[in-house]
């Protein structure tokens, strides 16, 4: 198999280059979102045109999460920009609503979001950014509303007090215009710290390295196991089966070769994750090696079994890919498991992808002890051995024994 592989440049590319490139692309996509660097394209129109509305717009434009702000002439243009997908979301500072600076009244709110339902989650992200900009750009407005409420409901301020309040609020506005952070801020009530040493993005990369590595392990193992079909069609398996040891040693050899190939493949992906994203491969190599050996054995056995059960080239070219892609999707290789509904997360435990991902998360995310890794690793290795046994039986059936 090694000699054949070395002479097949396409297979080398598919086995050792494509997975790394695929991983780098996905890692780039998902680390961007994990860092909060998602760039929103915002279309807006300011129908109010007051000093406050201009301050709010300036704050939005200064927000790093908002990539582009299209100032549209009117509400319909904003609507059209969102409908066409030119903008992710639209914002109208409406003249027909309650005042931007006043307490909520009975009329329409002063801010109107125009949302494409297909990108509703982006509207939620913008809502957060909008609140931040509002409190940053108009720090006096919520205070003024509170003072008005206190003045009308609890105690009447004297003219002198009112003058002092106006002076204070005016100072806040000037400070905000000068870039200072003043007034009420939810940020001040909130602190954030990581439960592990590394940043969230590095952990995300470790997750995706494991997720993509295991999916490609399965695909590469199934691709490598196609030699079984070649050897069956050419009569090589028949020749080997007539030999003194039968086909079993050849199957064992393929199993070990595919596992070795998988280990190299996984190491390349994690090496890229280490070199480019700083995933701590050198610090966690014993755990990585343990999980990767178990994962590679698992993929080798399953790949061989899937191809051997197919028996014919036509089936073996389609069925294993369908099974692997489905199992990988359920098991969390494509979308993180924590995005999935609970029943799908439970179903994931029936897939080897989930065991492998949990084991890699244990190594790179949770800093799990070796004893914690043993169960998933044993399960993975046992699945591999079961796959090999299944493949041996299927080959005997294929040969008509």
């Amino acid at each position: 198999m090694l000699l054949v592989l070395l002479r097949d440049r396409g297979a080398l590319l598919m086995g050792f280059v494509v997975p790394v490139v695929f991983f780098l692309i996905l890692a780039e996509i998902f680390t961007s979102s994990a860092d909060g660097e998602l760039r929103l394209r915002l279309a807006l129109t300011d129908e109010i045109q007051s000093p406050e509305s201009l301050r709010l717009l300036a704050a939005l434009e200064a927000n790093a999460s908002i990539e582009r702000v299209d100032h549209a002439g009117d509400r319909e243009t904003v609507r059209e920009l969102v409908r066409r997908g030119t903008a992710d979301v639209g914002l109208v500072l409406r003249a027909d609503g309650e005042p931007l600076t006043g307490p909520p009244g009975f009329g329409p709110p002063p801010l109107l979001l125009l949302v494409d339902p297909a990108r509703a989650v982006i509207a939620d992200l913008l809502t957060g950014q909008l609140q931040r900009a509002y409190f940053g750009a108009l720090p006096d407005v919520p205070l003024r509303n509170v003072i008005d409420l206190v003045g009308s409901e609890f105690t009447e301020f004297t003219p002198g007090q009112l003058a002092e309040i106006e002076t204070g609020l005016g100072g806040m506005v000037r400070a905000a215009e000068a870039g200072a952070e003043v007034g009420f801020r939810f940020d001040d009530l909130l602190d954030r710290t990581s439960v592990v040493g590394q940043s969230a993005s590095r952990n995300q990369v470790a997750y995706y390295a494991g997720a993509i590595a295991f999916m490609f392990l399965l695909l590469a193992a199934a691709q490598g196991a196609m030699t079984l079909i070649d050897e069956h069609e050419s009569g090589i398996l028949d020749r080997i089966a007539a030999g003194p040891a039968g086909p079993a040693p050849v199957m064992d050899g393929k199993f070990l070769f595919l596992a070795g190939q998988g280990l190299v493949q996984t190491t390349l992906i994690f090496a890229a994750a280490w070199l480019i994203y700083g995933v701590d491969l050198p610090g966690e190599w014993p755990g990585f090696l343990l999980v990767s050996v178990a994962a590679a054995l698992c993929a080798a056995g399953i790949g061989l079994a899937l191809v051997a059960l197919c028996g014919t080239r036509a089936r073996a070219q389609v069925m294993p890919v369908v099974v692997i892609v489905t199992v990988s999707a359920i098991g969390g290789s494509m979308v993180p498991r924590f995005f999935m509904p609970p029943w799908l997360q439970d179903l994931g435990w029936l897939t080897p992808n989930t065991w492998a991902l949990e084991a890699y998360s244990g190594v790179f995310w949770r800093g799990a002890a070796a004893s914690e890794l043993l169960l998933p690793c044993i399960l993975l290795a046992l699945a591999g051995v079961a796959g090999l046994a299944c493949a041996r039986l299927a080959v005997r059936r294929m040969l008509g024994d």
């Binding site: 054949v4 002479r7 050419s234 009569g235 028949d238 020749r239 003194p244 039968g246 050849v250 024994d401």
Partner: protein, 314 residues
């Protein structure tokens, strides 16, 4: 008392059916060391099935098969004495000839230190030494066949089983494959091969088994079998212009002709000469039969095969 020498191959009352079809139906066979047996018969007669039974690749429903006294299905030591060459080119096409032979030597249990010598010897006797570094896919069909055979002999088997070793080759190339088998036999290897080439079987084989519907219909040396069937007679083959009607069929059978798988072709033993042949033609014409060809020939395996199976092998 000296113990009796074990036959190389002994098959006794071998029966095997698959999906209601009798593939072997009571086959008895014995072959001594260093002999070449050709299995001939029409498609579906059971030749390849018998070859696989000998290779330990099929389990019999009843009966027994022994190679040097051992069961090749259950005993690896029996399979160690067997070399199996499938009909297809069972080689890795992208790899060089030498790498292929090294791989199969290892799989056939040749010890690591002896592999190089075994491969070199195989390259020498098969005449492939100059092409050892070439990929199998770059070789001609005949050369690929030679590598295919060489790959089955690396472990010095006592019995070599070949399934249609020269199928699809030009007559010239077929000759080189036959030379190869002669060389193997000279090395003391017993050979069982299946073939559709009766000339090849007649020239090469010490023994021939004509198989029909899972049974051995005739077994012996080609000369003995032909002599037993034809005696001092020769063979006449009659090719009619159109298939005969029922009265004509009855007349032909009464006249000693045997029908074949082709309705236009009939065969008979004939102990006359050219004068008697001309008289036969006249009689046939008088019976209203349009004769395209009436051929008098020395009997051979093909004539025997036609009489036994009713078929002509191309």
């Amino acid at each position: 008392m000296k113990p009796a020498t074990l036959p190389l191959v002994k098959v006794k009352s071998a029966r095997l059916a698959r999906e209601g079809r009798r593939m072997l139906d009571g086959v008895d066979l014995e072959l001594a060391d260093g002999r070449l047996l050709a299995l001939i018969g029409p498609n579906g007669a059971g030749k390849s099935t018998l070859l696989r039974v000998l290779a330990g690749r099929r389990r019999l429903d009843s009966g027994s098969v022994r190679v040097l006294g051992q069961d090749p299905l259950r005993q690896a030591s029996a399979r160690r004495a067997i070399g199996f060459v499938p009909q297809s080119i069972a080689l890795y096409p992208q790899l060089p000839v030498r790498s292929n032979l090294e791989i199969f030597a290892r799989l056939l249990g040749v010890p690591g230190r002896a592999i190089r010598q075994a491969v070199d010897e195989a390259l020498d006797w098969s005449g492939l030494r100059d092409r050892a570094a070439d990929a199998v896919s770059q070789l001609s069909g005949g050369m690929q066949r030679r590598v295919n055979i060489a790959a089955g002999t690396l472990h010095q088997p006592r019995l070599l089983l070949l399934d249609e070793p020269a199928v699809g080759l030009d007559p010239g190339v077929r000759g080189t494959i036959q030379d190869l088998m002669r060389r193997l036999r000279e090395r003391g290897i017993g050979i069982v091969l299946t073939t559709h080439d009766l000339a090849e079987a007649g020239e090469l084989a010490d023994e021939v088994a004509i198989m029909l519907a899972g049974r051995i219909a005739a077994f012996g040396s080609p000369a003995e079998l032909v002599a037993a069937e034809f005696g001092q007679c020769r063979e006449v083959n009659l090719l009619l212009h159109v298939p005969p009607d029922d009265p004509a069929r009855t007349a032909l059978i009464a006249g000693g002709f045997l029908p074949t798988a082709s309705a236009r072709l009939w065969t008979t033993r004939f102990d006359g000469g050219l004068v008697e042949l001309e008289q036969l033609r006249s009689r046939l014409s008088a019976q209203g039969l349009a004769v395209d060809e009436l051929r008098l020939r020395e009997p051979g395996l093909d004539g025997l095969f036609l009489r036994v199976t009713g078929e002509i092998l191309q």
